[in-house]
């Protein structure tokens, strides 16, 4: 049941407990309680909308930065990761396998702004050995949503 609630909410966070309850055959009150518990346990972390900012003409520049770190005794990468993710410009931080250690997604209003953030805030951190910045040029798909998908219902209006 929990998994079903999570799957549906991940698809559409606006789904009301009544609709959810009808879809999975549960009582709406039960659903409300489940959701509250899942939020409490931080299994459901947030309900944000996915926005295509470019479409309304907003200046948004994104970059994926690969960061090489000198891991610290006892805490490994966690402390460095925390120092990085506390910056509001940082949208995402992942610990990854391969030649680099952390993958950091940074958002700014311009190329210069992002580049300066990396140079002044990120690269200068203790334990950061090196960085490699990749500017994101185009978003095709994010969080399971295709940006330029034609949603058009191509079906005939009435068919047997």
């Amino acid at each position: 049941m929990k998994k079903e609630i999570l799957e549906i909410l991940e698809g559409d966070g606006r789904t009301t407990p009544e609709t959810l309850a009808a879809m999975i055959g549960m009582d709406p009150e039960e659903v409300r309680r489940e959701i509250a518990a899942l939020e409490q346990e931080k299994i459901i972390l947030s309900y944000g909308a996915l926005i295509n900012w470019e479409k309304i003409g907003e200046d948004v520049v994104l970059a994926m930065i690969d960061v090489k770190v000198v891991p610290q005794r006892e805490v490994g990468f966690d402390q460095v990761a925390e120092r990085i993710y506390r910056f509001p410009e940082v949208q995402a931080v992942f610990l990854i396998s391969g030649g680099y250690d952390l993958s950091v997604l940074v958002q700014g209003k311009s190329l210069k702004e992002v580049a300066l953030f990396v140079a002044e805030r990120l690269a200068t951190l203790e334990n950061v050995q090196s960085t490699m910045t990749h500017f994101i040029l185009k978003k095709y798909k994010e969080a399971g949503i295709i940006f330029e998908d034609s949603d058009a219902d191509r079906r005939q209006v009435v068919t047997p």
Partner: protein, 390 residues
Amino acid sequence: MSRRTEDFVSPLVRDMPPSGIRRFFDLVANTRGVISLGVGEPDFVTPWHVREAAIYSLERGYTMYTSNLGIPDLRREVAAYLERSYNLSYDPDSEIIITVGASEAVDLALRAVVTQGDEVLVPEPCYVSYRPCAALAGGTPVTVATKPENDFRVTPEVLLEALSPRSKVFVSCYPNNPTGGVMEAEDWMRLTGIFEEHDLLVIADEIYSELTYGGKHASLAAFPGMQKRVVLVNGFSKAFAMTGWRVGFAAGPREIINAMVKIHQYTMLCAPVMGQMAALEALRHGEDEMKRMLVAYDRRRRMIFKRICDMGLSCFEPRGAFYIFPSIETTGFSSDEFCERFLAEEKVALVPGTAFGASGEGHVRISYAASQQNLTEAMNRLERFINRHG
């Protein structure tokens, strides 16, 4: 002296009643901003891996005719599918034919067995093609009037009422379009004796067999003594969202399949090769995507059934396909009136039950092959409408 052009048309075709769906289609197509819940096909696009496999086959040059019976690999996959799903054993070389949709399979089966004077029993409400195809084959369609109190299942009583010494063929569609009803094992068991006693050939259209909720589909051919008198028709349109590809199949006794091939080889030659390639991919690797669609349909089904019941409309719980068939008698409108007024007042399209036979009067077919948003909005509008006119 020459005829008027319309006099070239054969009386049989001229006298065929116009499609109730067609009339309603024209009405809806000319109304702007409509939410249509009158569509009899999935709202999903064919899964990408299936489309990709077909595209790749075209790139590699698979553009020619295939064997009349269909690509051997596809027939083998169909045989394997029937074996693992229903424990049914068919020889892919002589007992399976790949057709241009399940529609062609039904048509071929009728044309292969029906002649002048033969009666073809058709449970109603039913899919729009069975009666016309039976008539075109030269037979006489006979209605088996199923009832809402039986969830529109075929019972021995309604069947016996329709039987005559001239009855030869019985065409069924379960899970059912338009009612969303299913026939379970016990329901079929009550009829198998009658099929045998009256020596009927059954054309079992099982196109919605994968879309069942709360119980696995019971395939008639799997029942004792039935395989030799059932032409099992199925396809890929609904389970794998492949309606436009025009590919389906029939499995049955070799004598009947052979007769069907004889017609098919002259009229169609073969089902489209790209459709067959897509079907092959769907059968081999399509189960996950199919299950995802099924889960989506099930959630919508439960949501819509609850809304319909909460509105005070009488409706049995549909456990197959993607249709719900509530009674709208509380409004006092006929099916046609209800749908026309609902369309005009609330811009939502439903299909009048009468489009599927007289037994559908007093009911409407709602298809939940539509997005969650559209369904929710449509239900809100239906509730408003019922409150205004109930």
